[in-house]
Amino acid sequence: MVQTMDNTMGFPILSVLIFLPLAGAALILLMNRANDKAIRVVSLSVSIATFIVSLSLFTGFDKTTHLMQFVERYEWIPSLNMSYYLGLDGISVLFVLLSTLVTILCVLISWESIRTKTKEFFISLLVMEGAMIGVFCSLDFMLFYIFWEAMLIPMYLLIGVWGGPNRVYAAVKFFLYTLVGSVLMLVGIIVLYFYAGRTFDILELMTKAYPYKMQLMLFWAFFAAFAVKVPMFPVHTWLPDAHTEAPTAGSVILAAVLIKMGAYGFLRFSMPLLPDASRAMTPVMLTLSVIAIIYGGIICLAQTDLKRLIAYSSVSHMGFVTLGIFALNTQGVEGGILQMLNHGVVTGALFLSVGVIYDRTHTRVIADYGGVASVMPIYASLFMVFTFASVGLPATNGFIGEFLILLGGFKANQWAGVLAASGIIIGAGYMLWLYQRVFFMETSPKVAGLQDMNMRELLTLLPMVVLVFWIGIYPNVFLSFMHPSVQHLLERVNGGSAPAVAANIATQILR
Amino acid sequence: MVPLHWYLTLSAAVFMIGMFGFLTRRNIIIMFMSLELMLNAVNISLVSFSHYLQDMRGHILVFFVITVAAAEAAIGLAIIITLFRNKQTAHVDEMNEMKG
């Protein structure tokens, strides 16, 4: 049993975080379908409660150790040695916070826009939150897989039921894409289980060394699941469809948290468990990331649909993240993790803002817009902040992440670093073009009579603005979470041989 | 004493005839008869083995086979009658309302 920190919180915080939303969903299940208001209020209060509980993670986290914290372990299926095993470390703690925060915003943004079947909507939303937190907290490979797949059902319904015109095609495409990828991972998990002596405990799996050939095979099996989720270059075509068709809350959750799980998967499973294969595969991964960055960027230049453009931009941004992760040096990985958080904040906010304008004009075609700045100045300035965060302007969070990634990428492979750096030019190109096309120039008739953002919408976007500038100006608060864990990860990946890791653990204990 | 493999070849031949009949004939009754033929072929081989091995199991199984064949025939004919009452045909080719 690998050494972990004992749960200092006094109460099983991670289980509470997972099952509080699920309990909320169950409560709504029992409520009468008619009173919309009550359903909305309950879901909002549950999401806020979860967020407040998760805040104690932020404060109670011990930043000096790479060991797992808030650990909980209960027998689940003794015969298969499968356990309900939760824990957090520097890499995963931030994403739990992001999920809880984003869920509140989703509930707020769909306050008026969701009219039909509100009960099922908020149930799916809360189940989503529970599953998301479960994915980030689970240390048992099967528990991770179960939460990973369980997320498909609510997301499928979110896109399919409350989505746009051809939502059905997008929902099925999303479902099948992810499912085909993750079933291959399931086979990989089981092969790993048997080779490592019948255990799903990730920490134990990390201490073992696996033959290179097997590592390679497993790497590609995991790649199938994680690359689809990221989405990396060849398997990204589901994202634009899913985003354009999903309702605002759906695409916010999809952009802010769901696609982070792919990159998180690489960090938590592919790299530490299969160090030699990861190292061998970095050239391939770097090429795919660079293609994603440039390909995603250029394609945005010719987009006509607002959400589709932002979707492709997140393909480009996630290209940055994977570049950072597979740079296999401290700057790259930490930049990658921070950029995953930033992308969640920025693209989430962009989709929230698109939701705000979409609720008024019900059109996503960019050509219909123009001169919104003179009609909705506050909205324009907020969108401006997020545009420049997405472009990676210094003092915004985008810059910190992108700079560290490019630095790490350049250090790992100069060609990748230089080509990826061109991404920031293309990024500026399409984002500014979008901003100009929508907000500047003469006010188009469709947009003429709109009134500016109301208090609720403002409330949804304000936390995002605060985060953009907070990470932009003082990122160390967030970076300090990661240092020990990333250090440990890199020792394992670059070190490669198990003894080095064991030695490291020994020192930890002796210290 | 007739050697064992003669019985076996007879049984195999009858079995093949029965199967061939079952596969080619169109009329359900004829298909039933060819089925019975196959079952009897099996009876032949069972009895011959039982005699050859000086063991009673074969004979017991033959009794069971015969009773089951009778029961089967009864049920089969009953179903054919209801079928006939609905569709006035015993031809297998007409019975393809469900396909795909």
């Binding site: 394609i299 010719a302 700057q331 210094p394 920031i424 190109g429 500047f440 | 596969l23 297998v92 795909g100």
Partner: protein
């Protein structure tokens, strides 16, 4: 000690106050907040000047900005001679232009927004100038880029303005691309991005080579050229100059502040700040000098034929910036900074005069529709005349001293391209004088060519606009006296203060030429200036029909110059249009639609087709079922026996 930290943060506070409370509360008097803030920073800047003149250098960190593995950077301030000079330039111009804008922007709906952007710009420029590490320099660098985007696109409901803003930002991004990679190389070789350690260790690595993208390159040249990419972008030098002329879409005070005095000079500041690195690599210096020279010649020729008042001045700025880079290229960083210092005054003055002319002419900018304005706008005329004299290098005025210094340093410096660059510089001096006075004569002399009611509307600008003009005019004249070269200085008992002042930071290149040569160079530059003015006088006052005939004769040349060598069209042809074309046809059309989507939809369709095919096998006829079973049995029997 850290009261100097207030210099940038005062304008920041002004920005925050204006942007948050501007709409509802401050409205008209939003300018008080900004002006007070920038004035306070000006006072602090002066005290910093005194402090640095007193000999101590200030370098302190405020807080750790980024810490990831070996990479540590913080927000910190380095105030030395170079910084102080820049501080003075930025704060002075900024204050004067803030005051000028009160009058100019009077009655504009986004009044508070304009002043908040001005304060934000001043904050970013000051952060850029006072940075003590490359990353904070980059922070200020992109900050000013952002503010120029806001201010150029201030009249955002005009398509041309918002296009110009976007163009400025994206072209700057091209420059920052190289700049960013330069910072990476600096960090990877020196292990830190702070100026202090980098410059001190630079000498040690003089001869080192670096494997960049597979090629072994001389390290110092690589870093210098990469950093120079940033300067090209920001200071609108040769390949990336296209955005500056279009930036004239912004209000005139903006052009004055950003596109004349401060932001565009950031590139020169960068080269000066990194002089230890640049001076270690001759090739880099040569590239800088040549780029500067070519750009100044290129811009000057275009300036000859333009008819838009502000565009002429814009091209003149590009040309003068080329001068400054030419100076740095030949190793005379002090001369470059000195020219930057003087240029800030007279160029800002030119722009503000253009602003007041525009104000009077109701927004009309085409100089062919003006004329004889000196009757109606004496103050503007006088100040603009002095500024033109100064830029043409008439002795005694600011422009003469700094330009002459550069030409002398080019001629006498030991840079291999010195002489060639000096020749181009002299030609450019002639062209500068010519187009400056072409502008003066066409706008202020001759008879009025505008519409009647424009003429009726002509009036001198209000006090709040003319006072800054006068102050700047004093600067345009007196600014040069700080750096009178030794040749003249001895016999009138004044020595070259700025040279001595900048010596500790930028060093002092010893020009090895005799006094005679120095005198000869000076005389040539004066002669060239005067002949330029004379030719302009001859062509536009004495024989006004001459320009018309010349354009007929050299029709082709005129058209090329008038269309700015078709550089804009060239760029959109090789970069912008193919990018969008690839996006539309190749990426969406082929890869996404055909290859990936075909695969993604193709596989399920194929399975669907297979499914309906297999469905037919289920014919519903029992015979077929039985035969399939029988064949199944046969196959399995065969498998078993054959094995």
């Amino acid at each position: 000690m850290n009261s100097y930290a207030l210099i940038p943060f005062l304008p920041l506070a002004a920005f925050v106050i204006n942007i948050l409370f501007g709409r509802r509360y401050l409205k008209e008097n939003a300018h008080w907040v900004s002006i007070l803030a920038v004035a306070a920073s000006w006072v602090l800047a002066v005290s910093a000047l005194v402090d640095v003149a007193g000999g101590n250098k200030i370098n302190f960190d405020l807080y750790t900005w980024m810490l990831s593995g070996g990479f540590k950077v913080s927000v910190g301030f380095l105030i030395d001679q170079l910084t102080v000079v820049m501080l003075i330039v930025v704060t002075t111009c900024s204050t004067l232009i803030h005051i000028y804008s009160v009058g100019y922007m009077h009655g504009d709906s986004g009044y508070y927004r304009f002043f908040s952007y001005l304060s934000l710009f001043t904050f970013s420029m000051l952060m850029l100038v006072m940075a003590n590490n490359f990353l904070q320099l980059y922070f200020g660098w992109e900050g000013v880029g952002l503010c120029s985007y806001f201010l150029i696109g201030y009249y955002f409901n005009k398509k041309s303005a918002s296009d110009a803003g976007k163009k400025a930002f994206i072209v700057n991004r091209f420059g920052d691309f190289g700049f960013g990679i330069g910072i990476f190389v600096v960090f990877l070789t020196f292990g830190t991005v702070y100026y202090e350690p980098v410059f001190s260790q630079a000498a040690g690595l003089a001869g080192a080579t670096y494997n960049f993208l597979g090629y072994d390159v001389h390290l110092m040249t690589l870093i210098a050229l990469l950093l120079f990419c940033g300067s090209i972008g920001k200071s609108a030098q040769m390949p990336l100059h296209v955005w500056l002329p279009d930036a004239m879409e912004g209000p005139t005070p903006v052009s004055a502040l950003i596109h004349a005095a401060t932001m565009v000079t950031a590139g020169v500041f960068l080269v000066a700040r990194c002089s230890p690195i640049f001076s270690l690599s001759d090739t880099a210096l040569m590239v800088v000098a040549l780029t500067g020279a070519i750009t100044s010649l290129f811009a000057a020729t275009i300036g000859l034929v333009q008819n838009d008042l502000k565009r002429i001045i814009a091209y003149s700025t590009v040309s003068q910036l080329g001068y400054m880079f030419l100076a740095c290229g030949v190793g005379a960083y002090t001369a470059g900074i000195f020219h930057l210092y003087t240029h800030a005054f007279f160029k800002a003055l030119l722009f503000l005069c253009a602003g007041s002319v525009m104000h009077a002419m109701g927004g009309e900018l085409d100089i062919q529709k003006m004329g004889n304005l000196k009757k109606y706008m004496p103050v503007t005329y006088m100040t603009m005349l002095i500024a033109s004299f100064s830029i043409s290098g008439i002795p005694g005025l600011a422009g003469f001293f700094s330009k002459d210094e550069i030409l002398w340093m080019a001629y006498a410096g030991e840079s291999p391209v010195g002489k060639f660059v000096w020749a181009i510089g002299t030609v450019v001096a002639f062209l500068t004088a010519f187009y400056s006075f072409r502008l003066i004569f066409l706008t202020f002399h001759g008879k009025f060519r505008g519409t009647h009611e424009q003429e009726h509307h002509l009036h001198e600008s209000p006090k709040s606009m003319t006072i800054p003009l006068m102050i700047l005019c004093v600067g345009a004249v007196a600014a040069g006296w700080v750096g009178i070269p030794a040749l003249i200085g001895e016999n009138i008992g004044v020595h070259n203060y700025i040279a001595e002042f900048m010596k500790p930071v930028l060093g002092h290149p010893e020009g090895h030429g005799t006094h005679g040569e120095e005198m000869m160079v000076m005389l040539i530059s004066i002669a060239v200036g005067l002949s330029g003015i004379g030719l302009a006088y001859f062509m536009y006052i004495v024989r006004p029909e001459l320009p018309e005939r010349l354009t007929q004769q050299f029709r082709a040349v005129h058209r090329v110059l008038f269309n700015k060598y078709y550089v804009d069209e060239l760029y959109s042809f090789i970069i912008v249009r193919p990018a969008i074309w690839t996006a539309k046809n190749v990426l969406i059309g082929i890869t996404d639609a055909r290859i990936i989507e075909a695969l993604v939809n193709g596989v399920p369709n194929a399975i669907g087709a297979l499914s309906s095919g297999l469905r037919k096998v289920q014919t519903g006829i029992m015979q077929h079922y039985a035969t399939i079973m029988a064949t199944g049995i046969l196959i399995f029997v065969a498998i078993m026996l054959m094995r």
